[in-house]
Amino acid sequence: MSKSKGWPLWEVFIRSKQGLNHKHVGSLRASDATMAIKNARDVYTRRAEGISIWVVPSNNITASDPNNEDSLFEPSQSKVYRHPTFYDVPDGISHM
């Protein structure tokens, strides 16, 4: 980590209320995890947007390559039989 560039980048995830997933809300710079949490509290939860915060160093995130979008996600589009609407249910059948 080069010092001239200042503090490292962190991605911030917030759980807005009990029962929901943490969701990515943005990023910020901080020297360490403790400061990242404090800063995230100050910038991303000023209006009761959250009850729990995760911070992750941005360079620890591995992302799928958008150029592989087709090979990664296209196969699932052709498999319509994975959805219940694919099947014929005879008239008069209920609870299914």
């Binding site: 980048l9 943005g26 100050d42």
Partner: protein, 315 residues
């Protein structure tokens, strides 16, 4: 890459934009799109940060505790807006410290409105009402801009901005219904901020060089003159309703265009201020530069502490 490939990529890119599919950081994009966005977003970020200075000037002199708490909260929001925007610029590969240094060297611009002084408490009202009001006019359409991280930042910003405008209008309303002297203060603030607020939307359309391309890329959704007209149309009746007068004798309702006609804007003044010769340009940039210089040891000390702790952990 071969020319054909580039043309193909550019076509796919524009198709996505035409279909309102957002562009995300790792997607292919033309260099010019990236560059234009970095310039636009970092200018926007600088405006949020420099914009804290004229209002910061009055925090310690707010007339009561309620007003002080409100102004503090508003200025703190602006710091947050700066952060969301610098983060969005970073997703395009911009170096945050470099963009800030460009502001300090005068290479990068920020909104010309913040180069005007805040002479009285009423200016806090005029700024919230007019300056934040104009900013909202500009920012609401950007919530639908084509670049995902910018659009998401704008959604957060717009949610927070609405209280900024209301608190400013509340200050103006109170002063305008107060003593003769207070009303005079409010009118004076309106007189000084009205024209600079209209200039915030930028040069008239025929002088605005990038508009067409930016509209095609959907990083600008209305022209400068359209936004300015929308602002005039909503603001003139607001002024009237609290008994203040917009300082323009040419203001007149125009039935055929369903909007107000307004007088000529002094574009010489605008270009002077943009060029660095406004009343407070030097003061504003000096303050930002000093803040970075004075805070440098904190940045370094925090990093040294973190490095030392990490070294211990791995040892």
């Amino acid at each position: 890459m071969m020319d054909v490939d580039i043309q193909d990529l550019e076509k796919k890119f524009q198709d996505k934009i035409d279909q309102d599919i957002k562009i995300e950081p790792n997607d292919w994009m033309p260099d010019a799109y990236r560059k234009t966005l970095i310039r636009q977003i970092s200018q926007h970020a600088h405006s949020e940060v420099v914009g804290m200075l004229p209002e910061g000037n009055w925090i310690t002199r707010a007339p009561n505790l309620r007003r002080k708490a409100v102004l503090l909260a508003k200025v703190q929001d602006e710091a947050g807006h700066g952060l969301y925007l610098y983060s969005a610029a970073e997703t395009l590969g911009a170096d945050r410290e470099q963009t800030i240094d460009d502001l300090h060297s005068g290479k990068a611009k920020y909104s010309s409105i913040f180069n005007y002084p805040t002479l009285s408490w009423a200016d806090m009202g005029a700024i919230g009402w007019l300056v934040d009001g104009a900013a909202i006019m500009n920012q609401v359409p950007l919530c639908r801009c084509s670049y995902g991280p910018y659009a998401r930042a704008m959604i957060r910003v717009c949610k927070e901005e609405s209280f900024h405008q209301r608190q400013g209008f509340e200050i103006m309303t109170k002063l305008a219904s107060g003593t003769a002297e207070q009303k005079e203060m409010a009118q004076d603030a309106l007189n000084r901020f009205w024209w600079p607020a209209l200039m915030m939307f930028g040069p008239i359309d025929s002088d605005s060089s990038h508009t067409e391309q930016s509209m095609r890329w959907k990083i600008k959704r209305h022209t400068n003159d359209e936004l300015r007209q929308m602002f005039v149309d909503v603001t003139v009746p607001q002024a009237e309703s609290i008994g203040l007068t917009v300082p323009d004798q040419d203001i007149k309702w125009n039935k055929s265009k369903e909007g107000y006609d307004y007088g000529p804007i002094d574009w010489d003044e605008f270009w002077q201020v943009v060029g660095g010769n406004g009343p407070c340009n030097k003061e504003r940039v000096d303050a930002r530069r000093k803040a970075k210089e004075d805070g440098k040891w904190v940045v370094e000390a925090a990093m040294a502490f973190a490095d030392k702790r990490n070294a211990k952990k791995t040892a």
